[in-house]
């Protein structure tokens, strides 16, 4: 459904969103399993998108390198635990958004003041831009397998991102993004094509042990995997998406199902990538130092040219869906922070201040990737360091808000949710702190 301006266009997006909410209300009042299924399909979206976008280009590369280095072992069960952690965190954003109808950035500004508002906004935008750089790296590397020069693949990603954001209203933007996200599942049949040793996969659960001992290199990989499983932008994206979609307290249950489905898909794909490279690359000389181009080459040798093409396409898709999500995340956060019109339902003429920051961030990231000799490794490092500082703060705000009866009413966190969430925050603080230190002072480890 295309956005246009008509003579009776309302100035805000609430009435536009009311159409979607009316559709949901009609389905909720209907009976029959088909209507129930339609209701579910209508309400899912933010959770699946955020989780699939979390398997971004950087994530795919991290998982691929993890499998190449450590094979099928420790990380298989660890990724499942990571999925559970991601669900616990992201589910809270569903409730927060559905109950308050406000985005995460908006909540921080309004509840905790301008200092923390600016701190969160600057961290988020800088981290998003740097993460977008890694997405365009993934897109250009993936498309290079098909002989497409980087400038065309970067431009293509940029144009796709801009067109669907500017032309489509939220509901259609979300549906199109979900179809793109479905491409992330390509890694599952690809893992099967590698003919993994399923006994080794089963053994990973039966004998869960640290491969090669608790070394600094192992810690680094653990933290990289953990860092890619949950990131600050995810909190902001899903909550804003829930708000823009118009979900209410009646939709929380479906939002939880949506998040669970997304988590399942995310974990499945992450496992598939680790199993794939754990099967085809692990044990080869120098495998622990393979970069993504070498991994793609090995996949081509072991699985065949079709397998290589599928992996490259998966990498392009991962970069693309994350670009879409990160662009929207930046736009929403800026719009919420400065109280601009902030909905994907609005045409550009009415919400240009909302669209431009997100699109500019993507343009900047694409340009950086195309500059020769850009220190991309350094930029990637900076993202991880920023995240190590920012994530505990983002989690703390989330927990404070979810435990605030003044805004959440009866939907405050239950005891088990607080126990899980505070444990996760504690773990994040320790791991992020260690990770930041290990990056900055590698000799300490």
């Amino acid at each position: 459904m295309k956005k246009t301006i008509s003579a009776v266009t309302p100035l805000d997006d609430t009435q536009i969103r009311a159409e979607d909410q009316a559709r949901v209300a009609a389905l909720r009042e209907s009976r029959g399993w088909r209507k129930r299924l339609m209701l579910l399909l209508t309400l899912i979206g933010p959770g699946i998108l955020v989780m699939i976008a979390d398997n971004d280009a950087g994530g795919v590369i991290t998982y691929a390198q993890t499998g190449a280095t450590y094979g099928i072992g420790f990380f298989i069960p660890a990724l499942i635990i990571g999925g559970f952690i991601a669900y616990v965190v992201q589910e809270m954003t569903v409730r927060l958004g559905a109950v308050t109808h406000r985005g995460h950035a908006e909540m921080i500004w309004g509840r905790y003041g301008a200092f923390w508002g600016w701190f969160s906004l600057i961290d988020l935008v800088v981290a998003n831009v740097l993460t977008l750089v890694t997405e365009f790296i993934g897109i250009t590397i993936g498309m290079s397998v098909f002989g497409v020069p980087p400038i065309w693949s970067a431009l293509g990603g940029l144009v796709l991102d801009a067109v669907i954001l500017l032309v489509l209203r939220y509901r259609t933007w979300e549906r199109v993004s979900l179809w793109i996200a479905a491409g992330n599942l390509i890694f599952v049949p690809l893992a099967l094509m590698a003919h993994p040793h399923w006994g080794a996969v089963a053994n990973a659960f039966a004998h869960w042990q640290v491969p090669g001992g608790f070394t600094a290199a192992f810690l680094f990989v653990v933290l990289a995997n953990f860092g890619t499983t949950i990131a600050p932008w995810m909190l902001f994206f899903q909550q804003s998406s829930v708000v823009d979609k118009g979900l209410t307290v009646e939709d929380v249950r479906h939002g939880q199902i949506d998040t669970a489905l997304g988590t399942l898909a995310m974990v499945l794909v992450a496992l598939a990538i680790v199993i794939l490279t754990g099967t085809v690359a692990f044990g080869r000389p120098g495998a622990s130092n393979y970069d993504i181009q070498q991994i793609i080459q090995v996949i081509g040798q072991r699985v065949g040219p079709v397998g290589q093409s599928l992996f490259a396409l998966g990498l392009v898709e991962a970069g693309t869906i994350a670009t879409i999500a990160l662009t929207a995340s930046t736009s929403w956060a800026m719009g919420e922070a400065f109280n601009w019109p902030k909905s994907i339902n609005l045409p550009f003429q009415k919400a240009w201040r909302f669209y431009i920051p997100g699109l500019l961030s993507a343009v900047l990231a694409a340009a950086v990737v195309l500059i020769p000799n850009t220190p991309l490794g350094f930029l990637n490092l900076t993202v991880q360091v920023i995240a190590s500082i920012f994530m505990p703060a983002a989690m703390l705000f989330l927990l404070l808000l979810l435990n605030d009866p003044g805004i959440m009413g009866e939907h405050v966190n239950r005891k088990w949710q607080n126990i899980s969430a505070f444990t996760i925050v504690g773990l994040l603080v320790v791991l992020n702190g260690i990770y930041g230190l290990s990056v900055v002072f590698p000799k300490w480890f």
Partner: protein, 59 residues
Amino acid sequence: MKTPQKNLQVLSVPEDSHTPVKLTKVVPKGWIQVAFWALRIYILVMVVLVAIGFSRGIH
């Protein structure tokens, strides 16, 4: 093409389920105040360490 406004009175969508919650700035007290101070200290320490690390040239 954007659709014209439909008659939404046909369906019962509670008005107050869409209204954004009113936000007022909270004054941290008790454990929340402790948490915010712990966060400030954590951020300060991490920023200082990162600055030292970058000034020495990380790789």
